[in-house]
């Protein structure tokens, strides 16, 4: 009469007991809030109002998808994300290759490159705010030395988003360089030596040998890049507050405004889930492309 009862061995029961605290933690602090947020996304809910969230079905999703604010924010986010990821991959791969053949002294550069990622985003953003200052910023002082006029880095529609991209690439390049360096060191020397013996040029070696072998790690960098850049908020909040003319209003910043400035938690949750779908689709697409290339 043991039908329906799962019999666990003593080690399995012990294992379950060991993972129970972590499981409870994950369910309570991560899974349940996500499920609740999904429910709230179908409701009209402001914490200011008394009573439970009011069910409105797909109204928040419809309102959001057809709003110009959201469409603009999504477009800005995608442009920002694509620019950061492409530049990050190119620059960090180039740096990794440079450091590969560098002297031991130059390899200390790796530590310097790594520093931005371990520094607080808020602190780094304030430093860049000063660097980008239209009148007194270091970047414009340098331009002045070459006889060029001041640029409104964060003050003009043309430059605000590229300025954020530059800062974000600077922050992420060191981390990705370290990852590429590890991947390069994992490539068997004999493969490279064999290609050289066969007369492959440096360019051929890079295109035919290194790039294909680095494809899995590039896919990892792209996927993690999408997950991270599509949620960008802090640097936007500090450097541009989404302006000028909404040219740096990302979806993450829009969610903040909906939730904390206007108290529209239902709409903010709906926007968050659409952002989640975008992140999932892009990450999954990148992964599928990388797998296809590998096979």
């Amino acid at each position: 009469m043991n039908r329906g009862r799962l019999k666990l061995s003593a080690p399995a029961r012990a294992g379950l007991l060991f993972i129970l605290p972590a499981l409870v933690y994950i369910v309570l602090t991560q899974l349940l809030p996500v499920i609740y947020a999904l429910y709230v996304s179908f409701t009209d809910y402001s914490p200011l109002n008394r009573g439970a969230p009011k069910w409105v079905g797909l109204q928040n999703y419809r309102a959001m998808i057809f709003s110009r604010e959201f469409q603009n924010a999504l477009w800005v986010t995608l442009r920002f994300s694509a620019a950061v990821i492409v530049l990050n991959v190119v620059i960090s791969l180039a740096l990794a290759l440079l450091l590969e053949g560098a002297s031991r002294v130059l390899r200390w550069l790796q530590v310097v490159l790594f520093l931005p990622i371990v520094t607080s985003v808020a602190a780094v953003s304030v430093v860049w705010l000063l660097l980008y200052d239209r009148d007194f910023g270091l970047l414009n002082q340098v331009l002045n030395v070459f006889g060029l006029s001041n640029v409104g880095w964060l003050n003009t529609v043309a430059w605000a988003l590229p300025s954020l991209v530059i800062m974000r690439v600077w922050r992420g390049a060191g981390w990705n360089t370290v990852i590429y360096r590890a991947a390069l060191q994992g490539i068997p020397r004999e493969v490279i030596e064999a290609a050289k013996v066969d007369g492959a040029s440096a360019l051929q070696l890079f295109r035919q040998i290194l790039l294909p072998l680095l494809r899995p790690i590039t896919a990892y960098i792209v996927i993690v890049g999408f997950i991270s850049t599509l949620q960008t908020f802090a640097e936007i909040y500090i450097l541009t507050s989404g302006g000028p003319l909404g040219s740096t209003t990302t979806v993450g910043f829009l969610i903040y405004r909906q939730a904390f400035e206007y108290g529209q938690l239902g709409l903010a949750c709906a926007t968050s889930f659409v952002l989640f779908i975008v992140i999932f689709a892009l990450s999954f697409g990148s992964f599928a492309l990388a797998r296809k290339g590998m096979t």
């Binding site: 402001s46 914490p47 200011l48 109002n49 008394r50 705010l129 000063l130 200052d133 239209r134 009148d135 007194f136 006029s149 001041n150 409104g152 964060l154 003050n155 003009t156 529609v157 605000a160 507050s241 302006g243 000028p244 003319l245 909404g246 904390f260 400035e261 206007y262 108290g263």
Partner: protein, 414 residues
């Protein structure tokens, strides 16, 4: 046995005292150090000494975090008994049934001394706000730069035309035509553009809403005229300020660096310069608002509200009435250099000592506050977005006024 009984009696006495004491939580908005020191080290101890049955716990919430913290407190049922907020938040909080009306308490209070600021926190005839401090958005200018270009610092502009003329004289451009010194610095987005616009809009006779707050009355000649004037200020060739400015984000005040000759500034900004740059502070003057069909300026007041859910409303009022006494209000406003809401404090010592600060008190008679409607924050941001589009040349003044009207109407009547 006797010692056991004595100890039990002592514990019972201590317990009874603790039970008799009411705990009161008060949230102050802002985290200005001198104000925090005053409240923590002087005001609260003085109140507790005068009211031994009340135990006050004070928290200071930075303005930027206030809405998020309050929303969390409302959602979790942990709202403080007393909290501070801006006057424009009143209608939204009342609509959500979060505030206790204070009229019963005000009945025995010298409300006349608070003048128009008292009415800023009224909704449907009931009063909810006990004003604590305020500020205005007035024209602040560097007298030395005025003299340099041959202007008389003693005769500030009284009309829009005079204001634009003075700003043009003070504007300095380089050989390529780029502005090196703004004649009149104005931010081009958010509240940095909306607040100066508000003053101009009211001066032109405009208003966002009907008196009862049920109708949007934004679009009209006043809005178009004020937006066109803003466009003239930002004009790339003949204008006096640059696009993309955000004076609040500047690491050093542009009046200090000489990057701006004039700007619309708050009393806190001027007071801050008194502390950080006393030499520049001495060179500053503050002008009365200009006049079009009316003379008006944006002023805002923050004050105490009592939570509708507070079980200690009487104790909450005890604290508020104590903190609103002329002595404590003067001390509190003197600490931050802000504007006391009581007319009897118009000549307070810290104001009388500085003509620049006194100007904010003298011009309180022209004060206009943000409309007290539940949708104000969103309506404000809609206005700012269309103003920004207008000064960037993306929308005409007429189109901006019309779009603002339509979007706020949609907000008011979803």
């Amino acid at each position: 046995m006797r010692s056991v009984l004595r100890t039990a009696l002592l514990i019972a006495c201590i317990g009874a005292t603790a039970l008799a004491q009411q705990s009161l939580t008060v949230w102050y908005a802002g985290n200005f150090q001198d104000q925090m020191d005053l409240v923590n080290n002087e005001l609260v101890p003085a109140f507790e000494a005068a009211n031994p049955d009340v135990d006050v716990t004070v928290e200071f919430i930075p303005w930027g975090d206030l809405t998020a913290k309050l929303n969390t407190a409302f959602a979790t049922g942990t709202v403080p008994d007393v909290f501070m907020h801006g006057q424009a938040a009143t209608a939204g909080l009342v609509a959500a049934d979060r505030l206790a009306p204070l009229d019963e308490y005000f009945a025995g209070f010298d409300v006349e001394d608070f003048g128009p600021t008292f009415e800023q926190g009224a909704v449907d005839g009931k009063h909810y706000l006990a004003p604590v401090y305020g500020s205005g958005n007035l024209l602040v200018y560097r007298t030395d730069l005025w003299e340099d270009v041959g202007l008389d610092p003693g005769s500030p502009p009284t009309t829009w035309e005079e204001l634009l003329d003075a700003a043009r004289k003070l504007t300095v451009r380089d050989a390529s035509g780029q502005i090196k010194r703004t004649g009149l610095l104005i931010g081009s987005s958010g509240t940095a553009i909306q607040q100066p616009f508000s003053s101009l809009f009211w001066q032109a006779g405009g208003s966002w809403f009907s008196a009862d707050g049920t109708e949007v009355t934004f679009d009209g000649p006043a809005a178009v005229k004020a937006i066109e004037f803003m466009q003239a200020l930002f004009d790339p060739t003949s204008g006096v300020t640059r696009l993309g400015e955000n004076p609040g984000a500047s690491p050093v005040n542009p009046l200090v660096t000489g990057q701006a000759a004039m700007m619309f500034g708050s009393m806190e900004m001027v007071s801050g310069l008194r502390t950080t740059n006393p030499d520049v502070f001495e060179l500053l003057a503050v002008a009365p608002p200009t006049r079009d069909v009316d003379q008006a300026a944006f002023y805002s007041f923050a004050g105490f509200f009592i939570s509708q859910d507070s079980p200690h409303k009487d104790q909450a009022w005890q604290y508020i009435s104590f903190a609103l006494s002329p002595e404590w209000l003067e001390a509190f406003n003197s600490a931050a250099g802000s504007l006391p809401p009581r007319s009897s404090l118009a000549d307070a010592e810290f104001l009388a000592a500085s003509p620049a600060l006194k100007a904010y008190s003298d011009n309180l008679q022209f004060a206009h506050g943000n409309p007290n409607v539940a949708v104000w924050v969103k309506a404000r941001d809609i206005t700012a977005a269309h103003l920004e589009a207008a000064v960037y040349g993306r929308e005409t003044a007429e189109a901006a006024a019309k779009a603002t009207q339509q979007e706020i109407e949609a907000l008011l009547n979803p």
